[in-house]
Assembly symmetry: C2
């Protein structure tokens, strides 16, 4: 494996001093980039792309070839996991993901099993190949959906719902939902450990739908399983610590609880003031975020202003990884992403001077 | 006007002692009720129903005829206001609301005006007629959308979006969005004052989409305009105080700021622990909420358990109006709503004993 030339991202996650605030963008390999749209032309369905390590490598490298980003993230999808469980993931033209066999009744839930990791070998192959392509320029982040977030798709059978199917089950037959969550947890531990063994240098858990839960349900059905995952991971590789990030979108009310998870950093969406988040978590964790992706639809001046607002709200010192509060939108002009990245690098220096 | 026989709801909003915790349900006149579905059969489009005081009266009374609720709420829609502004509101079969002339460019925004309140006379007529139908059993709540929430529909031209059109405008041309918000604010003040003059005994501002904003944008583009509304209202009628409720869905992070609005109560969605919300707002405001509507899809036992959890989290004393954290879903079995209402009345008595 290549020596890491820029470890600013890793040091910020571990709350070690850095010269500036590192930055990457959720969904940075995506449709807003003309080179990504070009690559998509030749290939097939979204799922087949995730299963193709050559394609995953090509598009993972595109944003780091174009921009001075401080981290790269594996091109993949959180639904590779339920797909490996045999739920029959497919994508309908113009619609979101769907499952042929949702885990929405007692029989199907009883039949769920932790899949053999060989079914996800294409992910581990992609991680290895991407590491070679990056050649040590920046760290590579591996990732997974959270047990709860995966369960919402598995039970609802699709995305874009109000979660009424899984919530009805959760409130009337909680033991069935706990069974799904435990299987997801065991699977994710094996999945992330294999990503780390293949070369992932940091890992992130996307709890995209934890924010749909009540306070108590969040603790019981989402947070507690993420805690099990963090304790089940081998967060070291070749003597280097592998930092972990947990991101519950819409979870700003529960930062104190998230800060006890054992993760090194928490992701923040744009609804929370990052300075107030920092005061609430103290020195327990680093923070990653949190500009509204919609800001990137405006203009370089407005973008710089928002970047400065976030940097100054976080304040002096380490422990901040700049990011958007959600994935970059496909309507973003690529030059606006450049303006944000440059603004973060330039404007953040004053917050890191001794 | 009839003497109010049950003023528990009003007293709780004013943080005066009550014998039990009052309860009503957002969207309580709705599709989950067979009698509502029956009434809908004979009538036309949703908008034409809102414009028909006889229909509005009939369906407003249905839930209070069926259940021992402690408040009724005007059957109407928040989009009556932009409709009166001439934006051409219409509803397409199977889709949400749309506007023929969205306020999405400088020219259209410049042309916006506070509409003559005579265009909303049908709302005031409905309020008067409903008050007669209620005959003093419980108070009648009047309502409006917040300036920001109305602006999202007015600029996006429809519901169900990611708010990228209005946010792009907000970040690049904030003065245009401020113009819309000021016009909405002036309109809403006149609209709510006329509802109060017609007989509304409490008012509620639904900031359904404030939670889509960043912390700073929420203060500047939503909260500050709601503050102007509260100070512009005549919150007294015939010597009685008219309590006001502000509800920003997804706004649990900003309760401290909301508590300074001058409103009597804050609505809470289900993501926040109501006990923690109470500690944060102190004795500044009453709280309304906050059971996940999905709980009503389970069974009476699970519903009672959740009701008790919320009541005990709020704790002893007045200042709590029980409600769902969002509108009741159309899939709710009516007997489950009854189970919730009865559980609130029975289980709450112990929190109000001297």
């Amino acid at each position: 494996m290549n020596e890491l030339q820029n470890d600013t991202f890793i040091r910020a996650l571990l709350r070690q001093p850095t010269e500036y605030t590192p930055v990457w963008m959720m969904r940075q390999a995506g449709r807003y980039l003309p080179e990504y749209r070009e690559s998509r032309k030749t290939a097939g369905s979204f799922l087949s792309l995730c299963k193709n390590p050559d394609f995953a490598t090509e598009v993972t490298l595109q944003p780091i070839d174009r921009y001075p980003l401080d981290a790269s993230i594996l091109f993949s999808d959180i639904l590779t996991v339920p797909d490996a469980m045999g739920l029959g993931l497919y994508f309908e033209e113009g619609e979101g993901p769907k499952f042929e066999f949702p885990a929405n009744n007692e029989e199907r839930i009883a039949a769920l099993e932790v899949p053999d990791m060989s079914k996800l070998q294409y992910v581990f192959d992609a991680v290895k190949q991407i590491r070679m392509g990056i050649a040590g320029r920046v760290p590579l982040i591996g990732f997974t959906g959270s047990p709860w977030t995966l369960a919402t798709y598995m039970v609802e059978g699709k995305g874009g719902t109000d979660f009424l199917t899984i919530k009805k089950l959760m409130y009337s037959r909680p033991e069935l939902v706990h069974r799904i969550l435990q299987i997801n947890t065991d699977t994710i531990i094996a999945y992330l450990n294999a990503q780390i063994a293949s070369g992932a240098q940091a890992i992130m858990i996307f709890d995209s739908w934890g924010g749909a839960l009540s306070h108590n349900a969040y603790i019981e059905f989402s947070l507690n399983y993420m805690r099990k995952i963090i304790s089940g991971l081998t967060l070291e590789s070749n003597g280097s610590k592998i930092p972990s990030i947990v991101f519950t979108k819409g979870g700003g009310l529960w930062l104190e609880q998230q800060a006890t998870l054992g993760a090194d950093a928490l992701g923040l969406d744009w609804t929370i003031d990052i300075g107030s988040a920092r005061r609430r978590v103290g020195d327990k964790v680093a923070l990653q975020g949190n500009m509204d992706p919609a800001v990137l639809l405006s203009d370089p001046n407005s973008i710089e202003k928002e970047v400065e607002t976030i940097l100054s709200s976080y304040g002096k010192g380490t422990g901040h990884v700049f990011n958007l509060g959600h994935g970059i939108t496909q309507w973003t002009p690529p030059e606006n992403a450049a303006a944000m990245i440059n603004a973060v690098h330039e404007l953040s220096k004053k917050y890191h001077s001794p």
